[in-house]
Symmetry: C2
Subunit: 352 residues, 2 copies
């Protein structure tokens, strides 16, 4: 905080809050916040119904409670006053909802609020051994689900049925849920990078893109394979081999001190050389951790240098509108001399 | 918009965006927005990888695309200029992330931004027949899952295994996923209203609170029953019957022109009269629709009058720290002369 010239950090429910306090809940319309200040003890201000849970899961023992119907703004103002924060420099995260930002502005109109997209994002970017172990576990749960379910894929199965099976495999082995809405994109749906799943029935000769991730210990996994049901035609095989080559080369390029952009350039170049540059619609990857998308982004213009302990996806894809799409994705952790994928599932075209 | 004295409405991915445009995606760090203006055609500004999906799912055909690495701020500014919005009154929703708000401020420093918590929230509060049908379907999927899984509950089962079974039942019958993180709170965990689920094994004589909801057609369900494994003691039975009475009376009190607060008062009064007022930790309910928590809130101080077509939960609870908790919840739709619960599952204490 000193480095960033702020007196306090004010967090609402988010990965940032969990990272620093140990307490997790989804974003809430009710104000629930924690204040980490250079001028006093850390503090939670929470609605009554979260009190016991905050006390049980967070190391912060200073918990003030407001009850439904009480004037929580008054209490928040008093707390900020106690901490001499009414006219302080307070850092706030950039995924904060406007409604909560307005609450802060109302309570402390003289405070100077600074956005912390970088402050906490950069702290969270380098994972500890313990964090990497949780991410490995999340990745293993995802991989095992795919191993169990891919042989079950068959003509006539609906996309959401396949999603249900995958999610059950992950969940029943201990995942807290999915890290994002599972994507089962079959046939022409696979040309939509962010399609989720629907009631389309898989037919013979479809390509099916399966993009799925478990959440374990609150950490995310993110894993994509494109498989062929029946007999893939030569164009499907060709596109798959181009994407696979781009993914392998990008993986090989990852090492400390290389820029994030350089990895993106490797994948983009290969796909462009093969004539499909305009069909690679997105960046090559994104950081993965407590959030499914976080720093560092493996994208054009991102000059950040890779460091050991960073974890991100490498996921080139080619999307041919109305025809089909192929994407291959693994999450890697940067090591001293390269990188290690968290998953071992083969990336060759699985034909079922 | 005229009524609210704004020239345009600017939306980022959210239930609001889906409600007005038909396009759904989870909130994104990439800027993806739509502008509904009184001064011109509606417009989407989207990253390249969402283009096909927006065109397929939204009625808005005016889609401008930005590519990774391009200066999207320049394009956004040009679009706002084309629509004469650079110094207009623009409404923005109150769950907007600060990072996107900052983007708007940067691009249009002269525009006057107004918060729309009420504008869209109030529109969405009254459901159409079509919306109610989707909510019924989501509720039925949830109810059927409970019917299938409750008989399977047994000593030794872990909380997350029960969650996995429920979620599989919902998902494999067509739910898009869960409306929120499934709560399976057994034994002392049931005294935490927002506990999710863990690896605690259910033991004989536990109460287990099951709070689960499917999402169907993007609409949420929200449904809670507390069941007894083995032989509930007399205190458990007593607390359950108090909560059940509070829920029934609150349900009976729902009708048009009654205030939201009045319903809360009914439930609170019954629990207070029985001596457990301080253990009912939350409001009696919340609106349910495209968001799992939305208007109207059934809470102290909320003077809004109920109207036919409103949908919300009625979910009183008593939470005894370190002992156990009981919550009973159904979502109801307000009718001309009362209300109709979306679920029919009996609320008496199920003993398994």
């Amino acid at each position: 905080m000193k480095e960033q010239d702020v007196d306090a950090l004010c967090l609402f429910p988010s990965a940032d809050m969990y990272y620093l306090t140990g307490f997790w809940t989804d974003p809430l319309e009710r104000p629930l916040l924690c204040i980490l200040s250079r001028l006093g003890e850390p503090l939670f201000i929470v609605p009554k119904l979260y009190e016991e849970q905050v006390r049980k899961t967070s190391w912060i023992k200073n918990v003030r409670v407001w009850t439904e119907g009480s004037k929580m703004t008054t209490q928040l103002k008093e707390s900020l006053e106690d901490y001499r924060l009414l006219d302080a420099d307070i850092a706030i995260p950039d995924r904060l909802w406007l409604r909560h930002y307005r609450l802060l502005l109302e309570v402390a109109p003289k405070a100077r609020f600074k956005f912390t997209s970088e402050l906490l994002g950069r702290m969270r970017m380098i994972k500890s051994q313990q964090e990497i172990e949780l991410m490995m576990k999340a990745a293993n749960l995802t991989e095992e689900a795919l191993e169990a379910v891919i042989p079950e894929c068959r003509e006539g199965m609906k996309e959401f049925e396949l999603a249900a099976r995958l999610e059950y495999e992950m969940r029943s082995k201990g995942a807290e849920g999915t890290a994002f809405e599972t994507i089962i994109a079959s046939g022409p749906n696979s040309s939509l990078p962010h399609y989720s799943s629907g009631d389309r029935k898989i037919i013979y000769d479809d390509l099916v893109t399966i993009d799925v991730g478990a959440r374990f210990g609150r950490y995310c996994s993110d894993f994509t394979r494109t498989v062929a049901i029946g007999k893939p035609n030569s164009k499907m095989k060709q596109i798959h081999s181009i994407v696979l080559k781009a993914q392998k080369e990008a993986l090989n390029a990852v090492r400390p001190n290389v820029t994030a952009e350089a990895i993106d350039i490797v994948a983009k170049r290969i796909i462009k050389e093969e004539g499909y540059g305009e069909y690679f619609l997105h960046r090559t990857g994104h950081g993965v951790g407590l959030d499914i998308h976080e720093l560092p982004y493996i994208s054009e213009g991102n000059q950040i240098k890779l460091e050991p302990g960073m974890t991100f996806s490498i996921e080139p894809g080619i999307y041919l509108p109305g025809e089909f799409g192929v994407r291959i994705e693994d999450v890697v952790v940067v090591t001293e001399d390269g990188c290690r994928p968290l998953t071992k599932y083969p990336a060759d075209l699985d034909v079922i």
